[in-house]
Symmetry: C2
Subunit: 319 residues, 2 copies
């Protein structure tokens, strides 16, 4: 008996990850490589390697690629990829389809992660939820009536402060400029340059430009006041974003993922407190705010589900 599988890739930050995924969403094998200067070359090589080593009696029925950026789903074009500039404007879908002769779906990475959580993770019990990926940037994915909304869902780039600072996206006062790891690190560096007292000063031989989000939440867990203030302020901004999501979507859940969840007790609890003050109480009380369960594999599982199930709500270009 032939069993179906697919290839699911995640092209986000500095690495390209490509996996072979079975029909039941088990990840059978996984390759990972720095995206480097020629991400398309790396991507094609990794896909070829997985196809060359398909297990016996297994048929690959398509390729799904989760890409950080704005995607034109009908053509599979990456309209803009802030992290991997060379992908911007690239007809990624047709390039991969032409190379391998298999159906290809391209999705935004946070959308893919949301759908992964829907089919096999923390979103399984919710018909309506919004996922936020909290990392160097903030991404979003929206599931309504059990379906992934085929929209940009760039929730990190919605204005929460009309007079706020310029964001890399061109807007100003974006949620991402207040609540992302990048924002927290930037605020830490600014405070330390301004001579704030903190144990963060002594890390990395005093090189404050090497401070990571993990450093900040480790310091916060040890009671460092600056680190706690930074995370609490970022959490409050996140709470504004969550309140907006609740007022927009009346979801059953908001699912959070990303490294910043290590600071749940400070960052996410501050977010919940702020969201509870801002969202309609009738909606807030019906919304659960929870952590993802698939972690880094959510995007891979989501792309596999999109390729293997081809849900009606999504337009899959077959050829």
């Amino acid at each position: 008996m032939i069993r179906h599988c697919c290839i699911a890739g995640d092209i986000g930050g500095s690495n390209i990850r490509v996996s072979l995924v079975a029909e039941d969403f088990r990840i059978l094998s996984k390759l990972k490589e720095p995206s480097g200067g020629e991400p398309l070359v790396v991507l094609i090589r990794l896909i070829q390697e997985l196809l060359n080593n398909l297990p016996p009696a297994m048929s690959c029925c398509g390729i799904g690629l989760a890409v950080a950026g704005i995607i034109d789903k009908s053509s599979g074009t990456v309209l803009r990829s802030p992290n991997i500039q060379s992908l911007s404007g690239l007809g990624l879908g047709s390039a991969i389809k032409d190379k391998f002769g298999l159906p290809v779906i391209i999705e935004n990475d946070a959308n893919a992660a949301a759908y992964g959580e829907r089919v096999a993770g923390a979103g399984r019990d919710f018909e309506d939820f919004v996922m936020l990926t909290l990392g160097t940037g903030i991404g979003g994915g929206i599931v309504i009536a059990g379906r992934l909304l085929a929209v940009s869902a760039e929730i990190g780039h919605a204005t929460i402060n009309m007079t706020g600072p310029q964001c890399g996206c061109g807007n100003s006062g974006c949620l991402e400029s207040y609540a992302s790891a990048t924002a927290i690190i930037g605020n830490a560096v600014a405070a330390l340059k301004n001579d704030s007292e903190s144990m963060l000063k002594d890390l990395h031989n005093g090189n404050i430009y090497k401070i990571s989000a993990e450093d900040i939440y480790n310091a916060a867990l040890e009671g460092d006041p600056l680190a706690r203030t930074l995370l609490r302020d970022a959490g409050r901004a996140l709470g504004i974003g969550i309140a907006n999501i609740i007022n927009y979507f009346s979801p059953q859940a908001v699912i959070l993922t990303g490294g910043l969840l290590g600071a749940w007790n400070i960052y996410v609890e501050a977010a919940m407190a702020e969201a509870s003050k801002r969202a309609f109480p009738e909606l807030y009380e019906r919304t659960r705010i929870i952590a993802s369960s698939l972690g880094d594999d959510a995007g891979t599982v989501g792309m596999a589900a999109l390729v293997l199930n081809r849900p009606k709500g999504l337009k899959l270009k077959k050829n």
Copy 2:
């Protein structure tokens, strides 16, 4: 031959409007009455009057009610209705169903208007659009893949300014606090109390508390600098809201409705200019910003379409 029809009501501001609507969405008859102190009593009386006068060979297959407020669609309960306090917490769906023995659907009024535009108005050519109702408040309705999203869509109560003024909803810095008719009038009164020069001063025998949004845009059209500034500032805030919508939903269109569109050249053009600066350019250039075509009838047509078509995406309680 029996022809199908339905009753569609709109329970928004100071009036209750109830219409008999044919299968082709023609409005056959329309009743309107002030909602007064007992809106449920008025509503039931108007529905009864339409049912008593059904044209021959016509069968009424259900009742759809568009209500300003937050609706629990599964139970037909009005969780909160800011304009008609006595509806808040009311099981409106079951009250009307018990009374008339017909299927009942309750929807938010802006959602209903969006769906009306989708089936018979300015949204007919768009699979993906967001509608904004611009009046004393700001409501929203979201259509994705041709379906009305069954979500709260309280876009007017998303924060656009984290340090902004308190809103009646409990949040602060809401879009509605900057871009609604109420906001514009409030800013006009504040400016006139502060001795700003304007032709608005001479209206209503100098009673500035009687100034309406229409007064303001009429003055603006005559070149009054204060009126123009007020509308332009409100338009800029609307543009922030529209940019957020574009970054969330990558829609084909944003459809606007409401009395404020009389000031399109100032208010909406300022909104477009601001949105073009804030939304992702790749998405903004694909989004049309247009006026509704059904006007006040959009909600009625939308409710009729929900009752008569019962689209799969929506949960219709049959009993």
